[in-house]
Symmetry: C2
Subunit: 226 residues, 2 copies
């Protein structure tokens, strides 16, 4: 569903440059749930952004649905992302002037589509945010904002979901509901998910866990138990 | 060191109003380390902001160092906060155009003071961010940004530190270092800390844990074990 090959990402130039990705090969199998763990600064967000086409690699190639991202022009890349990719950002990145509902529906509406009403309702009620949807992010708690960001990535049912620490601001109950919804997206709808997390309990919900260190994958576990 | 009495906070008006705090009495003893846990949306950030004088209560009173915050004019309140309070925000709130170092030193420089060089160095090296200090937040990872926010609250050695989920974006190792530094601030320098956290392991580092639910304190544990 998505993959990178020989991925290198260097930020900056000269002696302040940072080699955030140092040669990563990774295939996300269709319908699989992969977790990525690693120390702060090890390149996890960089990997997510480059695989999702939100940033460009310095060397190597990234593919989504068989298309090599570096060959696409801006408009084609934007359209591919909007149709095939859902992204839950570490810093949420909601639009401050739109309500929760408008933020969630935005990707679909930009494509001229409407959300599946039944799935929309299931997602927001399981996430416990249905009575806060008419508020803008400034009127929401940190965990409510995070759950709106999760809903935005789930509701359009994209082929691939990149989740960058989707439970960092949530209590155990809300966090478990996010993980259960993501597991359902994989098991029932065949979506592909890759999730960055610092929490071993969250990682154990995935089919496999990859460990990133200094921009390289250094270990992996299949069928993890926490 | 800080306290609230009969604290009520209502956002909005009419039938969309939210009673975020519903009568909270809380005394933070000088030199104590208090953790606050509770579901997403239960009022934790609201309690932190009102106790730190960053927001006003609808009913009730908040005090820092014996001064009632609602009696202070803006300038006096700002000065009290800058001198006595350190705040680690759930959304970090760093200044995007300043480097990590400038962000950390800002509270002291606004008071015409300089940081204690030895303590500054101890804090940033224990937090593992010393080689990223000349970068702005846009060039830092999520966990590095969070650690700069932690350093900003610790370096000026304020009387009271309010920490709103200070480890949410950190791996276990970095998170443990943040908690160890906060424990040192309490045990060695007699500072007072109140920390919101969703993680029971983090909460067990505190002297006591309070549980917030629907804007009320519903339970508390002394000397917690995870
Ligand atoms: N400006 C506002 N206007 C309206 N409602 C608000 C506003 N700010 C917060 N709220 C609401 O007040 C309630 C408490 O918010 P608060 O941020 O204190 O929760 P919290 O316990 O910190 O949650 P989290 O764990 O998700 O960070 C939430 O339901 C939130 O939506
Ligand atoms: N625009 C940039 N310019 C320079 N360096 C950058 C930039 N963005 C990220 N970096 C650096 O690249 C490294 C990897 O960053 P990345 O955000 O991928 O880490 P991460 O694994 O997601 O960390 P965290 O767990 O803290 O979120 C970090 O050292 C970071 O400071
Ligand atoms: Mg990151
Ligand atoms: Mg909060």
């Amino acid at each position: 569903a998505a993959s990178v090959s020989g991925a290198v990402k260097v930020y900056g130039k000269g002696n302040t440059s940072v080699r955030a990705l140092d040669g990563v090969d990774l295939v996300l199998p269709r319908g699989g749930f992969t977790a990525v763990m690693g120390p702060s600064g090890s390149g996890k967000s960089t990997l997510m952004h480059c695989m999702a086409g939100l940033d460009t690699l310095t060397e190597g190639s990234a593919q989504i649905g068989g298309e090599r991202l570096e060959t696409l022009k801006d408009a084609a890349l934007t359209k591919l992302r909007r149709r095939k990719v859902g992204f839950i950002f570490q810093a949420f990145n909601l639009i401050q002037t739109l309500t929760g509902r408008e933020n969630i529906e935005l990707p679909l509406r930009l494509d001229g589509e409407k959300p599946d009403a039944k799935w929309f309702h299931e997602v927001v009620s399981r996430l416990g945010i249905e009575d806060r949807l008419d508020h803008t992010p400034t009127e929401l708690s940190g965990g409510q904002i995070q759950r709106v960001a999760v809903a935005r990535a789930l509701v359009s049912r994209p082929d691939v979901i990149f989740a960058d620490e989707p439970t960092g601001n949530l209590d155990t109950t809300s966090g478990a509901e996010v993980l259960a919804l993501m597991r359902a997206a994989v098991d029932e709808y065949g979506q592909t998910i890759v999730m960055v997390t610092h929490d071993p309990n969250s990682a154990s919900v995935a089919d496999r866990v990859l460990f990133l260190f200094d921009g390289r994958i250094v270990d992996s576990i299949e069928e993890p138990t926490a």
